[in-house]
């Protein structure tokens, strides 16, 4: 069971002539928090979209090691007729978005219920006639939704419209919604963007709790270095679409290549 949960092998992503990711390889260990960082335009979100199945990588493989064995994300997306990014979520990768994408005109609980559509009774007839099986599945789904609302400290907002919530809560709700799909890997795209320091602190507690108490594997893109250093076990640094550093947070923080990418290099060093 020591195989990494997610294995990204030599992934290259091209948009026409532009190469967004070149030969990226890294892996995400089970139960760890892995952070993907890098300056703006480094190709982090593109990488993310490849992993979560929104893009098909031009080259390379993204392998998810589940109970059903290894699955290549790329083949899930390109499967004829039934293929698509929804299969990636069903395989066990859930995600949140950089700009929050909640169902704004639906209530908070309903947002979480939609995420559980795979375990609820979707049969038309059972729903119309409210069969016992339907009611049980529905009750369990609502309870699970409340469980995650409790985890994210959102219980008081359960029956409000998602769009009315303050920004920080919307962020947490999005994480709760992703967790409701029962993922093996949750990918958070800049979860701390737009949060104030205390909300960021709360968020880091939430992520750590997911990892420690639920054994959840987390992959996170983040610009807030304080948060990254505090929560992550493993940091991957991208610059210009390539991996420039990969390792423990303290290792990455002291890597000259990373410092150069973030702060620039002085002229003498370039000449030397």
């Amino acid at each position: 069971m020591n195989a990494p949960l997610l294995d990204v092998r030599n992934v290259t992503m091209r948009f026409g002539g532009i190469v967004a990711n070149r030969n990226v390889s890294f892996s995400v260990a089970r139960g760890s928090v892995t952070a993907l960082i890098g300056p703006n335009g480094a190709g982090k979100t593109t990488m993310f979209n490849c992993i979560t199945g929104f893009y098909r990588a031009s080259e390379g493989q993204i392998l998810l090691n589940g109970p059903a064995g290894q699955q290549d994300i790329g083949t899930l997306i390109t499967r004829p007729v039934t293929g698509g990014s929804h299969l990636v979520t069903r395989a066990g990768i859930a995600r949140t978005f950089q700009n929050i994408r909640l169902f704004k005109e639906m209530s908070v609980v309903e947002n979480l219920l939609v995420a559980q559509h795979l375990v609820t009774a979707n049969n038309l007839v059972s729903g119309v006639f409210r069969t016992p099986a339907f009611r049980r599945a529905e009750r369990e789904a609502v309870d699970r939704a409340y469980h995650w609302l409790g985890e994210m400290n959102l219980i008081d907002d359960a029956n409000r419209l998602a769009g009315e919530l303050p920004y920080g809560r919307q962020r947490r709700l999005e994480i709760a919604r992703a967790m409701c799909t029962g993922p093996r890997l949750i990918c958070l795209d800049e979860p701390a963007a737009g949060l104030n320091p205390s909300e960021t602190h709360e968020l880091s507690e939430v992520i750590q709790r997911l990892c420690k108490q639920h054994g959840q594997t987390v992959l996170v893109i983040e610009h807030d270095m304080g948060l990254v250093m505090r929560i992550s076990d493993h940091v991957v640094v991208l610059d210009h679409g390539e991996v420039i550093s990969d390792g423990r947070p303290e290792h990455v923080a002291n890597d000259p290549a990373v410092i150069a990418a973030y702060l620039g290099v002085s002229e003498e060093e370039v000449e030397a």
């Binding site: 929104f54 929804h86 005109e105 609980v109 219920l113 939609v114 119309v128 029956n159």
Partner: protein, 434 residues
């Protein structure tokens, strides 16, 4: 300050006057007379002046305290969706009364009014069907009338060629219309809304043109006749024509042509109630929730593992099925179908019902369907202005009630046990405790 306001008012009035003059001058200022035309520009100027005065009056009223209050309250009502608290009184009593009233209607109404009621219920059915597609799933369908036609012609042609009766058609029509919906929608559902709108618009016209031009099969513009309904072998005609027994003979009562309409009305009423129940259930079912989620944000849906193509397809098919059902009732009520009943105007009318009622609101759609079918009947004297009133109504709605007549209410959900204590063995965290 005061002069400033008057200046603004004057400017506004001048602008309104000019624009309306440009609009009115060719429309009502020039009157055709044989091959030439007569100048009636004074009329145009008067009309434009009237509009300008109206605009000024509106502005002045808007400046007063009362006007502001009115505008404010109108704006507040416009805000769309609310979540129920879970403490609302159950409307069972009102629903039961409405149901009883609906069932009793044929005994009080005359034949003319019953005809209108049947028509109104048919439009209810159509509105509910389109509401699934447009209101819940957010797919713009401009050719809904095609499925209506499929249902109607199924009964007419099915009787002619295969001997299908009313009841069999009632069962087959939803499936056939749903199948048509699937065949139509599958190739285009991967596209975004606008393409779907164009394709459905085209499909609606294609169905009508095929019905119109395939003379040997459909009877073309001459239409096809529809058999009168039967119930358990009893017929509603004076003498049996379909091998059964006439109803009045069987019960030994006097013949009346009204029985047929009573029967159609009652069956239709029950079907509408069933569909309303199903649609209301759908809103709290996983499938309905997925439709609404798709309307809100398709990308987020995909990230949650929702198969967006399949989910949209179910919405499209269920909507089409309801349309097909309405078609059967239309055919049996008219006793005759021809392609002129299934024009684009009909699609637009159904869409107007859904939009007026408030996208996604069942009560709103029913109310709008009743208003839009009964009102024109009551206003027979103003028949020439019907479309004008219709247009004014739509414009007014879009300004003051853009979210429809009735607010959408979302259901509330509560956990099966006490909300806090139990949320789990897992969640004994400092934050929840705090």
């Amino acid at each position: 300050m005061e002069t400033n306001r008057i200046l603004t008012l004057a400017k506004q009035a001048l602008l309104t006057f000019t624009v309306s003059l440009i609009l009115f001058a060719p429309i009502s200022g020039l009157v055709l007379e044989g091959f030439g035309f007569r100048n009636e520009l004074v009329r145009a100027v008067l009309l434009a002046a009237l509009v300008a005065v109206g605009r000024v009056v509106l502005s002045v009223v808007g400046m007063t305290a009362l006007g502001r209050k009115l505008a404010g309250s109108a704006a507040r009502n416009g805000g769309g969706v609310i979540v129920m608290t879970g403490n609302e009184k159950s409307p069972v009593l009102i629903l039961a009364l409405l149901f009883a009233a609906g069932l009793a209607l044929p005994f009080f109404a005359d034949k003319y009014f019953l005809g209108i009621a049947i028509l109104a219920l048919i439009y209810c059915l159509l509105g509910l069907g389109l509401n699934i597609v447009v209101g819940l799933a957010g797919l713009l369908d401009l050719g809904f009338v095609a499925f209506y036609a499929v249902g109607a012609y199924l009964l007419a042609l099915g009787y002619q060629y295969l001997g299908i009766g009313f009841w069999s058609a009632l069962i087959i029509a939803p499936f056939l219309a749903g199948l048509c919906g699937m065949i139509l929608a599958f190739p285009v559902l991967k596209m975004h809304g606008d393409y779907l709108a164009i394709v459905t618009l085209g499909f609606g016209e294609i169905i009508r043109l095929v019905l119109n031009n395939w003379l040997e099969f459909t009877g073309g513009p001459n239409g096809a006749s529809v058999p009168p309904p039967t119930v358990l072998g009893l017929e509603f005609t004076r003498t049996a024509k379909q091998g059964g027994v006439p109803l009045h003979d069987y019960f030994g009562i006097a013949y009346s042509a009204d029985y047929k309409f009573w029967f159609i009305y009652l069956v239709l009423f029950l079907v509408v109630c069933l569909v309303i129940y199903a649609v209301e259930r759908l809103r709290v079912m996983p499938l309905g929730r997925m439709w609404e989620a798709l309307r809100e944000d398709e990308i987020a849906c995909r990230s949650l593992g929702v198969n967006h193509v399949f989910t949209k397809l179910t919405a499209f098919m269920l909507g089409a099925s309801t349309g097909g059902l309405a078609g059967v009732f239309f055919a049996v009520h008219q006793g005759f179908v021809n392609p002129t009943s299934f024009t684009f105007f009909e699609s637009a009318l159904i869409l107007a019902i859904v939009v007026l009622g408030g996208l996604g609101s069942t009560v709103g759609v029913i109310a709008a369907a009743l208003v839009l079918t009964i009102l024109p009947e009551l206003l027979r004297d103003f028949a020439e202005y019907r479309v004008l009133i219709f247009g004014v109504l739509m414009v007014a709605m879009m300004i003051w009630k853009p979210r429809g007549l009735v607010r959408v209410r979302r259901p509330a959900f509560f956990p099966s046990t006490a909300p806090r204590g139990d949320t789990a063995p897992l969640s004994v965290s400092p934050e929840v405790a705090r």
